[in-house]
Symmetry: C2
């Protein structure tokens, strides 16, 4: 990691003006193509913009991740993070603008997921020179690929201090509403064993597929918990996502397996989640192995920072639980409660028609601005 005293690769990067109109800024960021693995030009531009326009921040570079922070000795610290990369381009660059049903939209890869959020964060990073809380901005790479390649995985290991705070905001698209925390997720492989035999003489065999009967029965009858945390409802889900077995049409199979996916509320640890599944399937003649798990994230809406954030957004803003797993869980893992907040409809992410309404960009920026610099209201 190079400190702010290192020289930036000025001149080589397309330039960004963080003080431009938020639509202009978003379009400029969208037009710097940054499919996962190709984030360098955009990271350079972001770094250069921060070094030029945000002299109140300490700017650090770690690979293609740019970190910018204040160290004003405030009582609370807020982390604001956004990924720079996108999924592959679908003939939707450079960006374009259109009006549809009376609504102005910016169209192009990354406009929704999540360069509108990156623009929002870059704008406030430059503006908020006297924030009430210390701030850490994280512009990171490799989010749209395997978790192991995500730069937050590396930074959580090498510099966890940059992910720590009293509250975190991830600029993922939420249509400028707040989606708090996220559920955890666990995969389990459930295997039944039997004895192979000719299907005309099943009494000398033992059908492994039939052993899955009580497992499916309990899943079918399962009533998932709804956990309300900080006023947000996390609906748990426990499902068979795959099932398989069979050797040949005339053979009693000696093995059958089922893959479970358990999405559990963020007040539950992976160990508790595993114990819950094992208890549910107690007495079933099967082996159970956890093959993958990731804890959820608490929304932390009862922290002072979060309460003021919600107040700044106003009553009209939707607040809901995030049901799917996102990078907010990485913050939670380091003890930082987190929410998702950004412009754009999350259902448009990764689609060929990816776009963001101008009004989302403005609403999200205004909300964040009101919170970080109350004097600007």
């Amino acid at each position: 990691m190079t400190s702010s005293s290192s020289s930036a690769p000025a001149g080589s990067a397309p330039s960004l003006d963080p003080r431009a109109d938020i639509v202009e800024l978003t379009a400029a960021i969208v037009d710097i193509e940054s499919v996962s693995g190709n984030e360098k030009a955009l990271a350079d531009a972001v770094e250069q913009a921060l070094r030029t326009h945000a002299r109140h921040l300490t700017v650090l570079r770690d690979g293609d991740t740019v970190i910018a922070r204040t160290d004003l000795g405030r009582e609370e610290r807020v982390v604001l993070a956004g990924h720079l990369d996108t999924v592959p381009v679908a003939d939707n660059l450079p960006s374009s603008r259109r009006v549809r049903e009376g609504r102005e939209e910016l169209v192009g890869r990354g406009s929704c997921d999540m360069k509108g959020g990156v623009a929002m964060l870059l704008a406030v990073a430059v503006e908020a020179t006297e924030p009430a809380r210390d701030l850490t901005f994280l512009f990171y790479d490799h989010e749209e690929v395997a978790a192991a390649d995500n730069s937050l995985t590396r930074i959580a290991r090498t510099h966890p201090e940059h992910l720590r705070g009293d509250f975190a905001i991830l600029g993922e698209p939420t249509s400028a509403g707040v989606e708090g925390g996220c559920k955890g997720t666990m995969k389990l492989e459930v295997t039944a064993h039997g004895t192979a035999a000719h299907s005309a003489r099943d009494w000398v065999g033992d059908n492994a597929i039939h052993h899955l009967a009580p497992v499916l029965q309990r899943l079918d009858a399962y009533e998932a918990r709804r956990a309300v945390i900080d006023g947000l409802e996390y609906r748990e889900c426990l499902n068979a996502v795959a099932i398989g077995g069979g050797i040949a049409g005339n053979v009693i199979p000696d093995r059958a397996s089922l893959t479970l996916n358990y999405r559990f509320a963020p007040d539950t640890s992976p160990a508790q989640a595993e114990a819950h599944v094992r208890e549910l399937l107690e007495g079933c003649d099967v082996d159970i192995v956890v093959t993958d798990s990731a804890a959820g994230a608490l929304p932390g809406l009862d922290t002072p920072a979060a309460r003021e954030f919600l107040a700044a957004l106003g009553d009209g803003v939707g607040v809901a639980a995030k049901q799917g797993w996102t990078d907010v869980a990485r913050f939670a893992e380091l003890g930082t409660p987190a929410v998702n907040f950004g412009p754009g409809d999350p259902l448009l992410a990764h689609t060929d028609d990816e776009h963001v309404p101008f009004e989302d960009l403005r609403a999200a920026l205004d909300g964040l601005r009101r919170w970080l610099e109350p004097s600007a209201r």
Copy 2:
């Protein structure tokens, strides 16, 4: 089909002496390699032997199938059938002889399945010049491959009269015991439908795998019928032989399927078998489609021909139901009750160590001989 007046391809075929010792005859037949599709040389040899040594029979040729019959106007007709082909050779030709645990054995591909049976049939075809019942001998090809290629499929369509009789014996290996009739078999595809959704939001979806729960539960609890027919017990079997479903680890699957194999007693028709499965699964939210079915075969042990056959074999001979489907069902389909009866352990069929004990060959031949020509006792 050529009649007996046609000239046989004499000279071109290895010659067989049906009056030789049964072990010699079996070895000679084994040594004429006849993997499915390559039966011509053996069919030629069998045809030539019958034309030369069994002038009391009308000999017909249909492809590589040889048919030989009496037409003496007897009250009953018995069909005696054996397939000429084998599964591929496993470095076990030509045949060899050995003594193991004091028992003499002939070793080689086809010795058990079912050239010992072919030798037995060829021997009695030549010997039984004054049978009490009219006889039809069928030496047929392509049994060890797809049912559609089996020459009995063709002959049942083009010349069903050669499969018709009051009783039939198929020379499949039964260790010289009697295995009567066979069960029917049916495959059914059971499909559950649902609605795909993200596995973190299952309430907007409908898990198709979970819909299979009551199906598996009923299969697991199913108590199969044991039907006793002519004193033989046919144990029915109803099993899931395959199960499958799943789109991705984070998706609620909208489709799951299960393949059922039902082996039903020969007193039950395929239509009755299908109705039984549909009744069992009544109320389950699944589609059921029959993808394959074949009726079983009644043993017909109450026919005069069969009763005398069992009497000729004597009390010491094992009599059991055939649980697996065999070509006896083709005879049953044309109204001919049938049993399996031949030398060799059926569990050795298709194995690399395929062999037949000398004593099996002699016992089977003697039994058949006593029945067909009571005067020879």
